[in-house]
């Protein structure tokens, strides 16, 4: 490890501290505004003088609970499906010898490189033709294949100690048992990392849910929050901030709980 001099360390700390402030100050302003009463929203003081939960009450008065439920349920189902498919596909790519294996894996990698916006319209058309428009199916199913997850887990499975797999084979385990009883329990960090990435990506998704949902009962939280931006005029900033605060919490929570595992995972797979 390179040892830095005191002065370069001081400069480094100053730069990171500045960057942290640049990111944290707006977040803090959002969170603090969420607790301000309506007349206070535009006051110069960043913190509320009379903290109130009024904004949160107003939020839930306009079916915010429905958005929250849609977001939670579809995110959990989608992430579970993504991880399941990624685990199975990664095992096949890592452990089976079959024709066109490398070509197929190259396709998976290729899919990583295609921008989402490019495939959105054709998938949208398919979703509509399948009759899934404005349903959870539209939010979940088109996103179940997660090339990044397949790639990440395959790399980890390739590095999995072969003697453990051979021992399990000699002990009488089938491929299915080897995967679920031996490999997956030892891939906690990799799977935790994948869950975080997938969770945050899904939770924060804005454009796709906007495209494939229409009714209020199918909207997700990110779109729901927007209602306060367009329709209710100036006095809706408070609820908007409350919504943003609430919407940020799950992703932050997942990240903080599992952050060490994420770092380990990405460092060990060579992605930083």
């Amino acid at each position: 490890m390179v040892r830095l001099s005191a002065s370069s360390r001081a400069i480094g700390h100053a730069v990171t501290a500045t960057l942290c402030c640049l990111i944290l100050i707006p977040m803090a302003l959002v969170a603090l505004t969420a607790f301000k009463s309506q007349p206070e929203v535009y006051s110069a003081l960043p913190w509320p003088q009379q903290p109130t939960l009024e904004n949160f009450r107003r939020l839930f008065a306009v079916s915010f609970d429905v958005y929250l439920w849609n977001s939670f349920a579809t995110t959990i189902l989608r992430v579970a499906g993504q991880v399941l498919i990624a685990v199975l596909a990664a095992y096949a790519f890592a452990r089976f010898e079959f024709r066109f294996r490398n070509a197929l894996f190259a396709l998976v990698l290729g899919a990583l490189m295609i921008p989402h916006s490019l495939t959105m319209i054709p998938i949208y058309i398919m979703v509509v033709e399948l009759g899934w428009f404005d349903s959870w199916a539209a939010l979940i199913i088109p996103n179940l294949a997660f090339p990044f997850g397949v790639f990440l887990l395959r790399q980890h499975m390739m590095q999995f100690p072969k003697p453990l797999i051979d021992a399990a084979r000699a002990d009488g385990a089938s491929h299915w048992k080897i995967l679920w009883r031996i490999i997956v329990p030892n891939m906690g960090p990799a799977i935790a990392g994948l869950v975080i990435v997938a969770f945050i990506e899904c939770w924060n998704e804005y454009f796709w849910p906007l495209l494939v949902t229409d009714s209020d009962k199918m909207r997700t939280i990110q779109i729901g929050i927007r209602r306060f931006l367009d329709s209710e005029g100036v006095d809706s900033f408070g609820p908007l901030m409350a919504g943003v605060t609430l919407a940020s919490l799950p992703a932050l929570l997942v990240f903080f709980v599992l952050q060490k595992r994420v770092m380990d995972t990405f460092v060990s797979s060579g992605i930083r």
């Binding site: 051979d166 021992a167 399990a168 084979r169 000699a170 002990d171 009488g172 385990a173 048992k177 030892n186």
Partner: protein, 368 residues
Amino acid sequence: MAAITITCLSKTFGAVKAVDAIDLTILDGEFVAILGPSGCGKSTTLFMLSGIETPTGGRVLFDGDDVTAMEAKDRSIGLVFQSYALYPHMTVRENIAFPLDMLKIPKTLRAERVARAAGIVQIGELLDRRPHQLSGGQQQRVALARVLVKEPRLLLLDEPLSNLDASLRHAMRSEIRRLQRRLGLTTVLVTHDQIEATTMADRIVIMNRGRIEQVGTADELYRHPANLFVAGFIGSPAMNLVTLKPAHGEIRVGAAAASLQDRSLASVTVGLRPEHLRFAAEGLPGRIALVEPMGREVLYEIETEIGVLRLLDPVHQIRHREGENVSIAVSPDNLLAFETEEGRSLPLTVHASGPEVAKSLVRSESLP
């Protein structure tokens, strides 16, 4: 328990022949060690016996039944790995019970068999620990318990002792041997350590470059190595190998002489074990080049007319200093001869032995 027959077994990885058409028979209840240098194909052979590697040619029979195409899980084998391969997320108890779980053995019976296997290797008190909380020796025992719990008909050990320290290795060596005797388990051990092979196995298979060089007891391999490879590989310190030109079909080292059956050979390689050489009043003259005290014995490197010879003196005191002139003698019964080119062993007839110094050494040249 099972008798194993291997016929014409081969394994190629791309262009590399890891195992090259080997034949071998292992008797029921026998302990066989496969010994050879790294990359000689010994582990590949073991993994083909276990069913983990699929042979590219040949057959494997267990008690006369062809198991070549059979999956590892259906062969009733127990395989112990060099790294022990304990499942890190399971406790010792779960590790040992895992094969029984795979065999769908009822839970009540499972607990009983786990306890019995743990008892055999004396790890009863470790059952609730996880592998990372165990020492190397304890992990080794757990690995053994995990294979014994299945009551396999064949026990396969892939360098099981190489990760242990010297004293533990010694203890585990005799323990595995005792266990194997007691259970009468047909066992195949793969190792690169000749002490491990000679102390544990009934018979030893010497492998080199994917082929079997010789099969025999430790004594047979030591006394009658079939070729130069085995001669050089078995014995520690390694055998002295010197190239001599026979005179009228006779080779001489000091006063020891022996006749070759083939009198036409222009050159032979003579093998002399360091422990068979001794200092004598008269014999092959030489000068001490190096003295290596080994504790109980002293190893001398001596420059002679026929090349540099190592002599293992069973006396722990250093009797000769570097630079000193000495004479070396060897009993003619201990001479071994090999074809220089092909390396095959040559039969010798011993016909002369005496104290007089041989002056008839024809030409000398030491092997590298």
